[in-house]
């Protein structure tokens, strides 16, 4: 869904002034300094970035940022346009939580003795969908992938058992309604004469993979 389509889609269904979580997806060239250029757009308006992930995208050489902020629709829309305006940014989407599939990864380091004595590892694994990444004599590292509430729940559960270290990754999100960027990229590249399209194995079966 493009930012423009989104206007029509959202206006009837959402409280425009109400703040909520938005996930911004940015397709951009992989260039030094671009992250700063994007971050400045938020800090200029004194808006806090809740989570930021920078990674590869479905297309070789194109970077994908996921940025989570808590703001109103109008503000997010303006931010999206300001980001999209940057020279090395190809496209910006913004979505509410019901429009995306998202995950965060959390790691928990706990004392193996503590955990073995007071709580069964098995129970933790089952109840929180955790997996044991490392089990050593002195400590064990669990991993949980899921939504914020899920990773938070295990923090709570482990609190009584000496949680030595905790870390959570940024959010990564897939837009439910997106067909990926392959077709869009062709449009972007079309004007340039002689430039070969980036070949991608998903081009032929895009529909199959991205329809949800």
């Amino acid at each position: 869904m493009s930012t423009e389509d989104k206007i029509k889609y959202t206006e009837d269904t959402l409280d425009l002034d109400g703040k909520q979580e938005y996930t911004i997806t940015v397709y951009a060239e992989n260039r030094i300094g671009l992250l700063n250029r994007i971050a400045i757009i938020f800090s200029k308006r004194k808006i806090n970035i809740e989570s930021l992930n920078s990674s590869a995208s479905e297309i070789d050489g194109i970077h994908r940022f996921n940025i989570v902020i808590h703001e109103g629709y109008e503000v997010v829309r303006k931010l999206a346009r300001q980001i999209e305006k940057q020279i090395e940014v190809l496209k910006v989407y913004f979505n509410t939580n019901d429009e995306i599939i998202w995950q965060e990864l959390a790691l928990y380091k706990v004392s193996t003795d503590e955990i073995a004595e007071k709580v069964t590892v098995e129970r933790l694994l089952r109840q929180y969908g955790a997996s044991a990444v490392v089990i050593r004599k002195d400590y064990t590292v669990f991993a949980v992938t899921g939504h914020r509430e899920e990773t938070d729940a295990l923090v709570k559960a482990l609190e009584p058992y000496e949680l030595i270290e905790f870390v959570r990754s940024a959010r990564v999100a897939i837009i439910k309604d997106s067909a990926g960027f392959h077709e869009k990229l062709k449009e972007f590249e079309a004007i340039e004469p002689g430039e070969e399209l980036v070949e991608n194995e998903f081009l032929e079966k895009g529909g199959k993979i991205f329809t949800m």
Binding site: E29, R77, K78, R81, E195
Partner: protein, 583 residues
């Protein structure tokens, strides 16, 4: 299969060698690139980290004219003045560290006023980056928020492509400043370079979109149904080189049109549909009637707060049609009912085709009524004052008589700027050069130098206040050295006039640090071998102005004007445009 590939490769290799290769330094290939881009004039200041480029420049004196300014801020403002007067990309050079940081004000000014610039800064050797080397600053990060694009070159092989991109980005779409930072090693690196290829496409950058005709149709419908349509135009018309298209549009539709100070001059002052200036010190009718129009057509303007006043009481009754090349401007400040995203050089003719021929005589008469009230209550007093003191307005009236609207007028920032924009007559586009968005005091003098290089056949007048002049007076040295024929008109009220006016109106006349003293400007000019005089009597004003304009060469005229004159009308901050004050 393999054989076929070989052939392809061979042909490719032949094609490569048949292209002319140039063996030389990164600095040379940079200067060659500038020539390829049509650059003739560079404003700059040398220093350690940019010395290889200056060394190469020594051999290019016949192709590239380099103007040695007296401060890098002066250099970039001159490049801005050049760009604004000529419609070309302004180019300036500065060294690393303080040279580069001195560009920041000019970059911010060019960014907010959409002025196409390519700035080249030297940088320390690549292996020293991040070591706090002598004259090292992180210029890329410092300038990121005030450039349309910037890039650090650490390898000479990047120079051509980056330079081509820089020019393309600076001048296409919504123009803006671009900065290229080149480390010293890249400047001296010797390579074989291919032929320079101009850039015409960057996949992640769309300077302008394909026009969506349905939006043009919707806009035309609104305009054709309107009883009181009102056009607000900005610099977009000038930047898009769409003055003719704009004139055709208003001539056919008969819609009264008002300008932002950045748009002034896109149509002549005398055009019958030109109803004047918008905003805080704009004309009475355009401000009041913004809140009475039924359809507002905003063209290449961005609803700056100085134009809109209080936003929640701005044009609430009107349907808004907004034409802009920058989609981020549409709905940014004022929500558009129809946003027409595109280059107005393309959108305006489409719109003109669809709008009905019309003459909004009754509606225009309302503008004329307001104008008459303003003439009676404000303008006559300013242009034909009865008191002893000279007013800024009467200086402008005399200047209009002498120049007939043909001069390029460059202003600084403050009261004189508002008076100049209000009263100066312009026959031609690109004649009004002022720091609109950033309001940079000190802009006027260096920008006028650049404007003279950008429009050498025009009379260029720099109108500057006594405060602003003292921010960049060092550029008198540049004028002296190159004989740049700039007419400098200082309107001296012995105050920081605009701040004083606010303190009078809103701070109970608590004149806090606005009482500024000045040197003997005439003696200062003469110290730079520039002819000068000062007048304080009305009888001598006209002759003094004529002497300045007719003088062969640069000239400084200081006019002593009333100390506590105010610029009216005025929309006080936080008030609605319809609450504009005439006194």
């Amino acid at each position: 299969m393999e054989a076929a590939q070989d052939t392809v490769q061979q042909t490719g290799a032949q094609a490569e060698t048949s292209k002319k290769l140039f063996k030389g330094t990164g600095s040379q290939v940079l200067l060659n690139g500038l020539i390829e881009e049509g650059v003739t004039t560079i404003f700059g200041y040398p220093g350690g980290a940019i010395m290889p480029i200056y060394d190469a420049l020594y051999d290019y004196a016949d192709k590239l004219e380099h103007i040695l300014v007296r401060h890098e801020q002066g250099g970039i403002h001159a490049a801005q003045g050049f760009a604004r007067a000529s419609g070309k990309v302004g180019v300036c050079f500065a060294t690393s560290g303080p040279g580069a940081t001195n560009l920041v004000t000019g970059l911010a000014d060019a960014q907010i006023d959409s002025t196409p610039l390519v700035c080249i800064t030297g940088q320390v050797f690549a292996h020293l980056l991040g070591t706090d080397a002598f004259q090292e600053t992180d210029v890329i990060n410092i300038t990121t928020p005030v450039t349309k694009w910037n890039y650090q070159v650490t390898d000479a092989n990047e120079i051509q492509e980056v330079l081509a991109k820089a020019f393309y980005i600076a001048k296409s779409g919504r123009p803006g400043p671009v900065l290229i930072d080149i480390t010293k090693n890249a400047q001296i690196q010797i390579e074989e370079f291919p032929e320079y290829v101009k850039c015409n496409h960057i996949r992640s950058y769309r300077p302008k979109p394909k026009i969506r005709v349905e939006y043009i149709e919707q806009a035309a419908q609104l305009i054709n149904a309107a009883k009181k349509p009102f056009v607000l135009f900005g610099q977009g018309v000038i930047l898009g080189k769409a003055e003719e298209e704009f004139k055709a549009f208003i001539d056919k539709s008969g819609i009264p049109s008002a300008w932002t100070i950045m748009g002034e001059g896109a149509i002549p002052t005398s055009h019958p549909l030109n109803v004047g200036m918008l905003g805080m010190h704009g004309n009475y009718g355009p401000n009041v009637l913004t809140n009475e129009a039924d359809v507002i057509i905003a063209i290449g303007m961005r609803f700056d707060d100085r134009v809109t006043g209080r936003l929640d009481k701005y044009a609430k009754q009107a349907k808004i049609v907004h034409l802009d090349i920058d989609p981020a401007e549409i709905d940014k400040n004022v929500k558009a009912d129809v946003g027409v995203w595109g280059d107005c050089k393309e959108t305006l003719p489409l719109l003109t085709n669809l709008v009905n021929e019309n003459k909004h005589n009754e509606w225009l008469a309302v503008f004329r009524d307001y104008n008459q009230q303003e003439i009676d209550q404000v303008i006559n007093k300013e242009l034909y004052p009865e008191g002893d003191e000279i007013t800024m307005g009467e200086v402008l009236r005399n200047l209009n008589d002498i120049c007939g609207g043909e001069a390029v007028i460059v202003t600084d920032v403050g009261q004189h700027q508002m008076v100049a924009c209000r009263y100066a007559k312009f026959n031609n586009t690109r004649s009004n050069i002022t720091s609109g968005g950033l309001g940079t005091m000190g802009f006027g003098l260096p920008a006028a130098i650049g404007a003279k290089y950008g429009a050498p056949d025009k009379t260029v007048i720099a109108i500057i206040g006594d405060g602003g002049f003292q921010m960049t007076p060092q550029e008198l040295g540049t004028i002296m050295q190159y004989g740049a024929e700039v007419k400098i008109l200082i309107l001296n009220n012995r105050f920081l006039g605009m701040v004083r006016q606010w303190q009078q109106l809103f701070n109970d006349k608590r004149y806090s640090f606005v009482n500024i003293t000045s040197p003997d400007f005439v003696a200062l000019a003469k110290a730079y071998y520039i002819e000068a005089q000062m007048v304080k009597e009305r009888e001598k004003l006209r002759t003094a102005l004529e002497t300045m304009i007719n003088h062969k060469g640069s000239y400084l005229l200081e006019v002593m004007v009333g100390r506590e004159n105010n610029v009216f009308p005025m929309v006080p901050q936080g008030m609605s445009v319809s609450e504009i004050r005439l006194k």
